[in-house]
Amino acid sequence: MSEIAKTVAPPLPTAAEKLRFYGIWATSLLLLLLLPNIFSSGAALTTFCLIGISIIFSLSYNILLGQTGMLSFGHAVYYGLGGFLVIHAINIIGANKLPIPLPVIPLIGGLTGLSFAALLGWVSTKRSGTAFAMISLGVAELIASSALILRTFFGGEAGISANRTRLFKLLDLSFGPQIQIYYLVAAWTLIAVLAMYALTRTPLGRVCNAVRDNPERVQFVGYNPHVVRYLAFCFSGFFAGIAGALAAINFEIANSAYLGAQQSGTVLFATYIGGIGFFVGPILGAIFVTILSLGLSDLTQVWQLYFGLIFISVVLFAPGGITGVLMMHRPLLKAGTLQKVLPSYLIALVPTLAMIAGLVLAIETIVHYTVNPGDDSHIKAFGIGFDAASPFVWAISVILPIGGYLVARKTWTWVADAWGEATSLAENKGVAS
């Protein structure tokens, strides 16, 4: 290496940094191995499987949205087709007693996603932006409606099912019990996450970022942005297919919901809420949204409404998502000025929570009178019972949101002030934001 590269280029990672890097992956591996020992209930294992699938799916989506700047409304197509093909594959392999064990089956889903992305992507990736978004929506509608029409392949409303335990058994694993499926999903999640992380650190991965930032300029440094977008789309389809395959293996069924707009919307939610600007964003988003959708649906009837409200709040107030908010604090943490903002957070939390509680009360009361007016007015939401007919509840559901907002607004300016002070202190200490 010449002098110039030594002095000017970013330093190559030191041994300690390398160790830390491999440490993170080793810790993840260990965590995945130990998780079932800590939470061993069937429900917990199912939740973990869903989270793993969602992580792969969201990260695959972020190859498009966060890395290459393509907003897709139809990513579930590649997830769903991966799932359908895998169900068919399991049935064929089982019927013919082919020596293919279940653990390699997700690869079939991946290749399905890849093939369809390669087939459908060339036209849609010609342009990014609105044209790409519209075409993705059109393709999604096309495939989702064919799923209901082409009954022999997609099985109509009921979908198609398979028995995963009837495949060739490797090491005597039947993959009947959920714990075995957990380890299968965990292994594939780790592999897929690693592969997608590696992809960001390749020439193609970096050129994807350049295409996201400025597709016009990319052409003048020798790259065809169409090819870059197309390759990103193919990779994205491949990993989405793996996610769909794991879902199909987990549920032993594939139906039209796999391909639908709801599925495409959920992955957009999860990715965006987690944060599209960082690699870990979609992982956090997948965990958050999976747990939330499982948890909220038990707590309230209109959980999708809250889901939408959360999404809108993130888009409006934290466009960087959960990861963006966390990462904002990194320079403060480094400079040691974090304690300047924490008290203001605590103070702001009280009226903000009061406001949210009031809003929830108002929403649940309105839902009672509009959706099920004939029912008993003693309703339960988020585990708390109250009487929706009581004027006292009505009063609270008006006073809390308004009063809470008025007080909270004051405390938010305190947060902003404390934040400004802490950042300028950090900057003075020479920590770049």
Partner: protein, 249 residues
């Protein structure tokens, strides 16, 4: 010797409006050539036609004797022609280092590689570091390009343009909006980086033009009215009337 760039009877119209009307000129190998003219003369359009950003209505553009008009920008770039933009056109959310590295990738043969670790490519690293120090932004290596000062962004713009090692460089008003000191800095940089390459530059600052160019072409209302050495251009009556006179008035 074949000229680096040749334009033959180039016409460009947008609807009924003719922007370029029969433009022909050539830039010799290793020459520093300035294209000057009043606003709206069609200088930037000429750049857009040479670099493939637009296609001429008629006529042809040749690079090293081969016709390139009609090719997409990336193919023209791969043949060794690179351009900068009048309005800064960098990758705003990427660091200075990543900006330059992306501009180096194709010319080092990485193409669309997804099986190589980008931090493990010594040639890419070497050349990126070289360009970074050439444009004097070593101290700003990890700064997001969108957060650079205007002059720094202009320097990065030039860096991205030359990073791929193209032997024909087109610079569109590289010193526009710069202070006196910044301009001098930029001219020194351009002089250094264009050493041994062909340079075609659009510039309004006459001291820059006359200080830098071996030859000058003057464009007025979509036509080349004169081409020659700086001395010839200074002495040309038509140029004085059409352009330099206007400037002096």
């Amino acid at each position: 010797m074949t000229p680096a760039i040749e334009l033959w009877g180039i016409r460009k119209s947008f609807g009924d409006i003719a922007i370029l009307r029969d433009v022909s000129f050539s830039v010799a190998q290793d020459e520093r050539h300035a294209l000057i003219g009043p606003n709206g003369a069609g200088k930037s359009t000429t750049f857009n036609l040479i670099s493939g950003y637009m296609k001429p209505t008629s006529g042809s553009v040749l690079l090293h004797g081969e016709v390139i008009s009609g090719l997409p920008p990336y193919q023209i770039n791969r043949r060794g022609l690179s351009r900068s933009f009048q309005v800064t056109n960098v990758f705003p959310n990427m660091s200075v280092w990543e900006n330059l590295r992306c501009a180096v990738l194709w010319s080092t043969g990485q193409r669309y590689a997804f099986w190589k670790n980008i931090d493990n490519l010594p040639e890419v690293r070497e050349r990126t570091a070289q360009i970074l120090s050439d444009i004097n932004l070593s101290g700003r290596r990890d700064v997001t390009a969108g957060l650079l000062t205007y002059a720094e962004q202009r320097a990065l713009e030039i860096g991205i343009t030359v990073a791929g090692g193209a032997d024909v460089i087109l610079l569109d008003e590289p010193t526009a909006g710069m202070s006196r000191a910044e301009t001098e800095h930029a001219v020194a940089l351009i002089r250094r980086l264009s050493e041994g390459r062909t340079l075609l530059i659009v510039e309004h600052d006459m001291s820059v033009v006359f200080g830098l160019a071996d030859r000058i072409s003057v464009m007025v209302y979509g036509q080349i009215v004169a081409s020659g050495t700086p001395e010839e251009i200074r002495g040309n009556a038509k140029v004085r009337e059409a352009y330099l006179g206007e400037e002096a008035a």
